[in-house]
Amino acid sequence: MQKTWNNKAWFLVLPVLLIVALNAVVPLMTVVNYSVQETFGDNLFFFEGTRWFREVLHSDRFHASLGRQFLFTFTILMIEIPLGVIVALSMPKSGVWASVCLVLMALPLLIPWNVVGAMWNIFALPDIGLLGYSLNALGIDYNFTRQPVSAWLTVVMMDVWHWTSLVVLLAYAGLQSIDGAYYQAARIDGASRWSVFRYIQLPKLKHVLIIAFLLRFMDSFMIYTEPFVLTGGGPGNTTTFLSIDLVKAALGEFNLGIAAAMSLIYFLMTLLVCWLFYTLSMKGETQ
């Protein structure tokens, strides 16, 4: 039977298109405009061509903050994804404790970023913070305001504390949706705990883990508030990630052209990674 082909339903998407145009496309266009100009304020702009892009691409400062950003994102993904799956696997499947665990898991997600930063700042202070004071009392020289390694450890721990719950909740939802028949079949075959995980749970979790990976990649790649409140990008520049560097350039130094060029390069990187990840996961799906 011939299907009726009617494209008029696309008009229903128009309101969304308008909203997206206003809150995403127009600002993006403005950033593109800024990236080729110099300004000293008062809405006066001078055309500079590709100068800012060349400067950013050859800037040691940009390379350093980009390197730190990738290292941070890679580190937290390597910790949060496996840890989230392990916690989800060990949570009760039903009953009152399942609800208790879910609420406890959701708590860190409800806390605003700046509060998390402030909490960890106080928690980790070497003289009065519980973590900082305890570590020093144990003889471990720990001071996140002075030592780069301590600062990094604190930022990573803070992110793991704040966001592993998201992976846990997604993985838990994925685990709950697995049909009991699979486990029954595995028991009949005498499958080990590892085999059940490797051949039943992990494949079934693939999609939620892709979503968790994407969300955590995007979120950690543009992390700003938490490390800004905790370390302010220091000591020195050791925890200055891309977004902190960007804000320093744009608002601290009022280098709007350089900041716009940095933003566009930043945007292209995020776009490429998301597209690659989405395409590769969909490729696996269609085969």
């Binding site: 055309f47 691409l57 292209l268 776009l271």
Partner: protein, 93 residues
Amino acid sequence: MDLSWMAWTWQTATFFVVIGFLLGGMYVWEMARPGGDPRQGILGLDTTRGDRLFISLITAAYIHLAWLGFLTAPLWGATLFSVFVALLIFRWV
């Protein structure tokens, strides 16, 4: 409507007009010669014409960045190279 806050230049306006024409052109192309259904190319990906346009645009952006990062030659060289790569993408990917 005062758009001076957006700091428009004719160069960036041309860039967005070209992108707009590309999107419009894709629509006209599909209307005139339907054939945008997914097909598998050399990368083993199922791509529609729209996907191939997206891949071409993002590749062009990276070619321009690489050109600015590694070469000192005029940027239109990167644009010409991007058009050539886009043709390859539309033909083979």
